[in-house]
């Protein structure tokens, strides 16, 4: 990895503590590094600075110098350079670190400023907390405990604004709760590049709204809900479903494309309620696409596979594996594996072991969609690069399984092991499918599972742990958020059992064991262990695959190594 360039550091003083930060770092971030919290609403590290909430007011001072000579003015009492404190408080978000900058965040004036802003924000804010979805993760609530008055001096009538405005299919607006911080407006304009939100009217009557004839319906609209510091914007999907403090948070990954946006899965008692982005400044900043947030619905989808079947009748895992092994024996030398770009690195590794022991040909199914140049890439498989790294494949998959179809037609393949892929959707005809015996591992029913002789239900990404390699060749891990769906078995267990039944020597089907073998056998995964992979991922050496025509276009935090070529047929 390349060492970061040595930044231009300056020393600033926050409440008497000194810290060196890169020049230009704002005061909120500098103080955060010292563990000093400067409350704020409108400031967001990934958006432009507007300074409108005034919550981050601080006292600021600069070292005094003689105007003529620019030499320091020393304080006779201490012998140190005197600090000229500005009479008016300054906003921390727009105050950047400069040499010798002094900040007070705990003075009576700063406290008074924060209490004043808090009181103003609460004046017209409805007392909705008991029914508000934001309760528990509301910045206004949090700061009110620190800087609220505890009682109201306001005896006038509150402003009345629209309570339920549907801004788009996924976002509901409550204007009375809005504190007019403009984060959502800036996000739409600057990140989603879909400038549809704005304020109308003036003063305290200002109201957030969509521009006439427009809707907040871009694929990033739910990020506005995430960054809304209050309960003004809520998700129509999550609204009124669950109190956030009951939810367990699990780090996960967005599997909808090769971007691998980092996510948090929020679940309770085995049910997932929502998915939100997790900050990773190298991958997705603090954003993710709306489409990726819907994926949790796969866990309890109507077409979920729930029973191990052999020849159409319910079976047990070991019996099914035995049946599969018999099939492998009967069709030795005529077996094909259709692996998956949706499998984890560990699963792909075991798939590769299985294919090797069976001397089976391996193909993968590519998925291609339009890339949006933000956080959804053209490659809709999350882990094609994992298949390259583990050696499951050596070149990028074709769009359709034409090679496999030809082998079936030629009678060279009698048995197909499909790892979650629907072979019909991937290009086989029903007639070709009928010619082969299918062993199917997967989460959902489809034409292939219906035709399979052995059906082994496995897990969604939310029910297991593992790693993916994203478009940057960044190895990232995801963790099990909810228990396995009844009747489904961990993919690793199924793959390991199949491989062992076929005569292979594979590691025990747990992540630690698989990783010991991976680290030993796979070049580039070196001396790593699953537990040591950082939450923000680890960049792998991509040079062995630099000649491959990857299809992703330039996007947020992604630069193709060379001009993207058309997908190979």
């Amino acid at each position: 990895m390349i060492a970061p360039l040595k930044p231009d550091l300056v020393t600033v003083n926050v409440d008497g503590q000194e810290i060196a930060v890169p020049k230009g770092t704002n005061v909120i971030e500098a103080a955060r590094q010292l563990g000093v919290d400067i409350p704020h609403y409108c400031y967001h590290p990934k958006l432009t600075i507007v300074g409108n909430c005034r919550m981050c007011l601080i006292e600021m001072g600069l070292p005094a110098v003689y105007p003529a000579t620019k030499t320091p003015i020393l304080d006779p009492a201490t012998g140190k350079q005197r600090i000229n404190w500005m009479p008016r408080p300054q906003i921390g978000c727009a105050t950047n670190a400069s040499p010798g900058l002094h900040i007070r965040t705990n003075s009576p004036q700063v406290k008074d400023c924060r209490e004043g802003v808090m009181e103003f924000l609460l004046l017209n804010h409805p007392l909705d907390c008991p029914i508000c979805d934001q309760a528990g993760e509301c910045k206004l609530q949090e700061q009110a405990t620190g800087y609220g008055r505890g009682y109201s001096r306001f005896i006038e009538q509150k402003n009345v604004k629209p309570k339920r405005t549907l801004l788009g299919p996924r976002v509901m607006l409550d204007d009375e709760r809005c504190i007019l911080c403009s984060r959502c407006i800036r996000f739409s304009k600057e990140i989603a590049k879909d400038d549809v939100l704005g304020f109308i009217d003036r003063g305290s009557h200002s109201t957030l709204t969509c521009f006439p004839g427009k809707k907040l319906e871009n694929n990033y609209s739910l990020n506005t809900v995430d960054i809304c510091p209050v309960g003004a914007l809520t998700s129509t999907d999550f609204r009124f479903k669950m109190r956030v403090w009951f939810l367990k948070q699990t780090n996960s990954l967005d599997t909808e494309s090769s971007v691998g946006a980092n996510t948090v899965v929020w679940s309770r008692e085995g049910a997932i309620y929502r998915i939100t982005p997790r900050r990773n400044d190298e991958v997705n900043d603090t954003w993710m696409a709306d489409s990726g947030r819907e994926l949790y619905k796969l866990v309890r989808a109507d077409n979920r596979l729930t029973a191990i079947k052999v020849n159409g009748t319910d079976s047990g895992l070991d019996l099914a594996v035995y049946a599969a092994a018999q099939i492998f024996k009967a069709s030795a030398g005529a077996i094909a594996v259709v692996g998956s770009g949706r499998s984890s690195v560990e699963e792909q590794f075991l798939t590769q072991k299985l294919a090797a022991v069976l001397s089976a040909s391996v193909s993968l199914v590519s998925r291609v969609g339009a890339g949006d140049r933000i956080l959804v890439s053209a490659d809709r498989n999350p882990n094609i690069r994992g298949a390259l790294v583990t050696g499951l494949i050596a070149s990028l998959p074709a769009q359709k399984l034409t090679g496999l179809a030809a082998q079936i037609d030629a009678g060279q393949v009698k048995t197909v092991i499909s790892i979650g892929e629907d072979l019909v959707a991937a290009g086989l005809t029903a007639a070709q499918l009928a010619k082969v015996t299918v062993v199917y591992l997967g989460t959902e029913t489809n034409a292939t599972s219906a035709a399979a002789l052995v059906v082994l239900p496995t897990l969604t990404v939310f029910e297991k742990s593992g790693t993916f390699v994203n478009q940057q060749f960044r190895l990232q891990k995801f963790a099990k958020a909810v228990p396995a769906f009844a009747g489904a078995t961990d993919d690793l267990v199924v793959l390991a059992k199949l491989a062992v039944a076929a005569g292979a020597n594979v590691p025990a089907p747990d992540l630690a064991s698989v990783w010991r073998t991976l680290a030993a056998e796979v070049a580039g995964l070196g001396p790593m262990a699953y537990a040591n992979i950082p939450d923000t991922g680890l960049l792998l050496d991509a040079t062995p695959w630099s000649a491959l025509p990857f299809i992703e276009a330039e996007a947020l935090h992604y630069q193709p190594t060379k001009p993207s070529a058309a997908v190979t047929a």
């Binding site: 909430c53 005034r54 906003i91 004043g116």
Partner: protein
């Protein structure tokens, strides 16, 4: 001491019988002679003359004009813009409208001189939406001047070109704030920008260096170049040079506009002699000396000010010279020159309710203290005049105002809190006694209770 005579420099021809706002009349009265002289000068020399003159901006803040020009970022390589602030909306102020309506060429000449001095190629006149007639007159005057080569390409046969455009506002007080004005000119909501980093001299209109000057200020620039910076500096008083147009409104016999050398006339002379004193049977009670945002002065209060030699002097309200520095030392400001007079018939709570209603209506709503505080203050004072006053309301009002001033993005925070702070400080007894004294119906014209 009787009041000095008016010194009409800017308003020389205002309301003069027979004087019209067309180019021919302006040229007949010597118009554009100064511009002709200016284009033969070095631009830096013009800037130096203006610096020498000590001219301070007439928009309200009194910022030194020549110094403002020297702050321009001339190294950026970006074009430099001049924006003329003709968004005259400070309550009590009505000077720029006379220039726009009756002597627009004086302004255009001032603009062109300023543009030439600062290498500006495009100037915008941002005129308030409520001046549709003024905008039409300006458009006409610019067309005339352009046809006569007093602006536009190859000004007066030189290689220098500069265009002037008129932009009408849509009726918002905040557009008078220079960065709000710039946002509005760019076609956005007039949300004032945060400073730093958006100082107009560096990152102004379209993120280019920009001068924002008031209409009256630019007319002074023309006069300065006519008589020379040194001669101009002798008008008025030191550090408060030139003349000021004072707009007197309210409870006086003869309200109107008056142009005097800065600091040469006292408030007492202005009100009692020039404006004919209070209405029959009334006495002066209070005066706001520089537009509605300025802090109110109470007749009867005295100010003890330090002299330069270390001694001090005590002044009554009547003694105060109408200049920038003395008024600032007395805790108020010369502001925009709008003098609002209130006599003893005035219900101070109702007067403040009126001002608060204005500021609540005009707060742009961008930053929290002003947005929420201005409406809160309005709601309190409106309630008070509607017979629901509480003894503690005065103290609450002051505290709310204290939570706004100095904590906002732009000066509107001060503008909306200074009236309340000063009314409570000086007429606090009236606010405290209001629940008792106000047992009858609200004063005529009081705002509807919301």
């Amino acid at each position: 001491m009787s009041a000095p005579a008016q010194r009409r420099i800017i308003f020389q021809h205002i309301d003069e019988p027979g004087y019209s706002n067309d180019l021919a009349c302006y040229v007949k009265h010597g118009g554009y002679a100064v511009l002709k002289k200016a284009v033969t000068m070095k631009p830096e020399a013009i800037v130096d003359e203006v610096k020498q003159s000590g001219l301070r901006g007439r928009g309200g803040a009194g910022f030194p004009c020549g110094f403002k020009w020297t702050l321009l970022d001339k190294k950026s390589g970006k074009p430099i813009y001049l924006v003329v602030n003709a968004d005259e909306s400070e309550p009590g102020t009505f000077k720029d409208r006379y220039i726009l309506h009756q002597d627009p060429h004086q302004l255009i000449e001032g603009i062109m001189i300023t543009c030439f001095a600062n290498n500006v190629k495009q100037a915008y006149i941002y005129i308030r939406g409520e001046f549709p007639h003024g905008a039409r007159i300006l458009e006409q005057a610019i067309a005339e001047a352009r046809a006569a080569n007093f602006c536009g390409p190859n000004l007066l046969g030189t290689s220098y070109s500069c265009e002037i455009y008129v932009h009408r506002g849509a009726g918002a007080y905040i557009c008078g704030e220079e960065t709000g004005l710039i946002e509005s000119l760019e076609g956005k909501r007039p949300y004032p920008r945060i400073k730093p980093p958006y100082f107009p001299a560096v990152l102004g209109l379209y993120q280019c260096p920009t001068i924002v000057n008031n209409v009256e200020t630019l007319c002074h620039v023309k006069y300065i170049l006519d008589v020379g910076g040194d001669a101009y500096a002798k008008i008025g008083t030191p550090n408060n040079t030139g003349t000021r147009i004072l707009c007197v409104s309210g409870h006086v016999q003869k309200p109107g506009y008056y142009e005097y050398e800065v600091g040469q006339i006292t408030l007492g002379q202005l009100l009692n002699e020039v404006c004919g004193g209070p209405l029959p049977g009334r006495k002066f009670k209070a005066v706001i000396p520089g537009g509605s945002s300025a802090k109110v002065l109470k007749f009867g209060e005295t100010f003890t000010l330090k002299n330069k030699d270390g001694t001090s002097r005590t002044l009554t309200v009547e003694d105060l010279p109408m200049d920038f520095d003395t008024l600032a030392a007395c805790g108020t400001m010369g502001g925009s020159g709008g003098v609002i007079v209130m006599d003893d018939s005035t219900d101070m709570v109702a007067a403040l309710a009126n001002l608060n209603a204005f500021y609540a209506h005009e707060s742009c709503g961008q930053c929290t203290p002003c947005r929420e505080g201005s409406l809160w203050m309005k709601k309190i004072t409106t309630r008070m005049v509607h017979d629901h006053a509480r003894v503690e309301d005065g103290a609450l009002l002051k505290n709310v105002a204290d939570q706004i001033a100095g904590r906002t993005i732009c000066a509107f925070g001060e503008a909306c809190s200074w009236p309340t702070q000063s009314f409570i400080a000086k007429f606090g007894d009236e606010f405290k006694a209001y629940p008792e004294t106000k047992k009858t119906a609200p004063p005529a014209g009081a705002l509807e209770l919301v």
